[in-house]
């Protein structure tokens, strides 16, 4: 099975580095960035199977980023991560083409299961 390539985007740097390290320990090729702008740049530089996007970030928020991703790479799977207060935003994200949304905190094994489903273009959980 090919290695899963994941881009993890969140403005909390410590969260990004920790999750990326944990995903890598599980054999996933994970890359982390801390802004929507950086995510868009990175997507143009290297291929990913799934992008995990925080909904609320300084600058370009998750919803704006997903819009731009879907314009340029309609087949790239995007998962949204939302806090408790951002559920409505996550629903908007689904309408914009997100594969699914997860509410923080997310169990890592659940995240990995959804990452695999999203990469395979499968059904939502």
């Amino acid at each position: 099975m090919a290695t899963l390539r994941v881009l993890f985007v969140d403005d909390e740097e410590e969260l990004v580095s920790t999750v990326v390290e944990r995903l890598e320990l599980r054999g996933i090729a994970a890359t982390g960035v801390v802004s929507g702008e950086e995510a868009l740049t990175r997507i143009e530089q290297q291929p990913f199977d799934v992008v995990v996007l925080d909904v609320r970030m300084p600058g370009l928020g998750g919803l704006e980023v997903i819009k731009r991703i879907k314009q340029l790479h309609p087949d790239l799977a995007v998962l949204l991560l939302s806090g408790h207060g951002a559920k409505e935003d996550a629903m908007t994200g689904l309408r914009l083409g997100a594969f699914d949304y997860l509410q923080k905190p997310v169990d890592l094994e659940d995240l990995i299961a959804i990452l695999h489903r999203a990469a395979a273009g499968g059904e939502r959980g």
Binding site: E12, L15, E21, R22, L25, R56, G85, P105
Partner: protein, 246 residues
Amino acid sequence: MAEILGENHILEQEFLYFSRVLSGQCHELANALNIARELCGLHEDTLPRAREGHADAVEKLGSLAHRMQTQIDRSNAIVRTLSRFAHTAEGTRLACDVREILERALFFAARQVRLRQAELQAVMPAGDVQQVECNPFLLQQAIHAGIELLLEGIGQSRRITAALKPDTAGAVVTLASADAFECNDAAPGLLAEITAMVQAAGGEVRETPECSGRLEFFIPCCRRGATAANSELGIPKGTGGGCDVS
């Protein structure tokens, strides 16, 4: 009737500020706990190799403990600040430590400033600032609204400075954007609301040329002394969120 409507508007604004602070800080707290949770997970992931005696894994456990401590300290700071804040909502004028009020207002505004990709710099005096007499809740609300106004008008510099200066008759809080702009264009009506808030808090808005991108709040010193003022109001020691009787 107009007076009742006016009072209702003020109460509505106070409630809105309270809920915005609460929701923003809940989000910050959730972020810190989330990170701590992932760090615990990474700790678990690292344990098997550390038990096998791999030096790098043992060292990693030490660094993970330190990183978890950082998130715990961050969470504690949020809870402590929120708790002090909750004590300011009693609606009375007290003898207050204006430095603590400003620091707390800036702590709460930090998230909003970060989301707007701006920088907030605090300039505090090195020495003591005499106690002021004000409604601490309204003063925090006015400072927060002032920062909001500056965020609306801020230009390329993306920089806001909040400064506290002692004054012979009290203290002056200055909020300034590095860029000059017309306050009423940036946020119509907000400057008038801020002026009303500062007045209701017991202070006054000074020297606010409408196009300067700068706000200056004067807060008078406590004329009767902290102990007298607070005991007259029946404020027990240890309450008041920075307005304790010392």
